[in-house]
């Protein structure tokens, strides 16, 4: 958040519409260009979080997976703040960690 956004928020002011426009455009163009529908995207997001949660405990509230576009190239960007590593996962058995009680339930 820039200082200006912060002050806008403080004063209960709406953010400048150009910023809103830019963000909405970037999102809609990422979809237009990738031809991924929102449903597939949501499924992919869920599965990525699932896999990552096997290894580390992530902050689901803060994290996000998004499509970003620049220069006519679209990138998948995952921003997943790590709270802590999963204590019980050993390097060799990481992939098999799914079956453990802590493996698949990041919310718990």
């Amino acid at each position: 958040m820039t200082l200006r956004d912060f002050i806008d928020k403080l004063l209960g002011r709406q953010p400048a519409s150009a910023n809103v426009a830019r963000e909405r455009l970037q999102l809609v163009l990422a979809h237009d260009r990738s031809d991924l529908n929102p449903e597939l995207l949501e499924q992919m997001r869920r599965e990525i979080l699932e896999v990552v949660s096997r290894y580390v405990e992530i902050d689901l509230e803060e994290g996000d997976v998004s499509l970003e576009t620049g220069d006519r190239v679209t990138a998948l960007v995952a921003n997943l703040p790590i709270k802590r590593a999963r204590p019980l996962v050993e390097p060799g058995s990481a992939a098999g960690g799914v079956s453990r009680s802590h493996g698949l339930n990041p919310g718990a």
Binding site: L3, A16, A18, R22, R24, L25, Q26, L29, R33, G70
Partner: protein, 272 residues
């Protein structure tokens, strides 16, 4: 393929009403005045009005339709501009042409025009359907025109994708109806926003300008009489850049500064 040496430039946007025909008319006249033999081809057969903007509507005898069917020669259909003889219009035919017109037909017309003109400007219809596909077949390069609004930019992006897949190159951008004050107040997408998002080199910026409407009323493009209005200047500069001249771009921030922008600048100053 088309004759070498001639440039075939498509003027397109995806969305309607963003300024394609106005740009085609003004750029055509500006190029002609700079000594370039220029043909403007109205490829918007459904909603033709390039003739109106050029003030040539009463001088049309034949159109692209008769040229294609062989019932007249190209010379008979071309309407030469009286004041600017370097410019000629090839008018669009009847909208019913759309029923049989093929991309190859447009290529044939372009090749014919290439024999006597240095630049062929093609005024593209809105949309990305058959009309667009026909028009793009006659082009080698393109100017995409858009306004700083979400819907126009989104449609421009679609068109750029299609131009790329047709191998059209280079593709350059014109940003139309710029309002410096709104940009300064961050209530309009900035020039950088649009060029970053579309990732195209900027060929020119055209201000929102009342004189555009006045000139369409008269059927005399702004570039015809050396008018000094902001849009006239912009169209002339676009013509010069198109010919390879290095003309600096106008800076909208200098054209109008709003309070919010000043505030924005103050607030983002680092304190330590």
């Amino acid at each position: 393929m088309t004759a070498p040496g001639t440039r075939y430039i498509l003027i397109c946007s995806g969305k309607g009403g963003v300024g394609k025909t106005t740009l085609t008319a003004n750029l055509g006249i500006a190029l002609a005045r700079q000594g370039v033999r220029t043909a403007v081809l109205d490829a918007d057969f459904g909603l033709r009005n390039l003739d109106l903007l050029l003030g040539l509507e009463n001088r049309i005898v034949f159109t692209a339709q008769e040229v294609l069917s062989g019932s007249c020669r190209l010379e008979q259909a071309l309407v030469k501009h009286k004041q600017e003889p370097n410019l000629a219009l090839l008018p669009a035919g009847n909208p019913r042409m759309l029923e049989w017109l093929q991309p190859e037909d447009m290529q044939r017309i372009a090749t014919m025009l290439g024999e006597q003109f240095d630049v062929v400007l093609i005024d593209c219809p809105a949309g990305i359907e058959d009309g667009f596909k026909n028009a793009v077949a006659a082009a080698q390069e393109a100017i995409v025109i858009t306004t700083p609004e979400v819907s126009a930019v989104r449609d421009a992006d679609r068109v750029i994708g299609l131009l790329n897949s047709h191998g059209v190159k280079p593709i350059q951008l014109v940003l139309n109806r710029v309002r410096p004050k709104m940009m300064a107040n961050q209530e309009m997408l900035s020039v950088a926003d649009v060029t970053d998002i579309l990732a195209l080199p900027l060929l020119g910026l055209v201000m929102e300008d009342e004189q555009v409407i006045v000139s369409t009323n008269r059927g005399e493009p702004l570039t015809l009489n050396g008018a000094k209005s902001p849009a006239a200047l912009a169209y002339n500069n676009i013509a010069r850049r198109l010919r390879g001249e290095d003309v600096p771009l106008m800076d909208p921030a200098k054209a109008g500064r709003g309070l919010r922008a000043k505030l924005g600048r103050l607030m983002t100053t680092k304190i330590f």
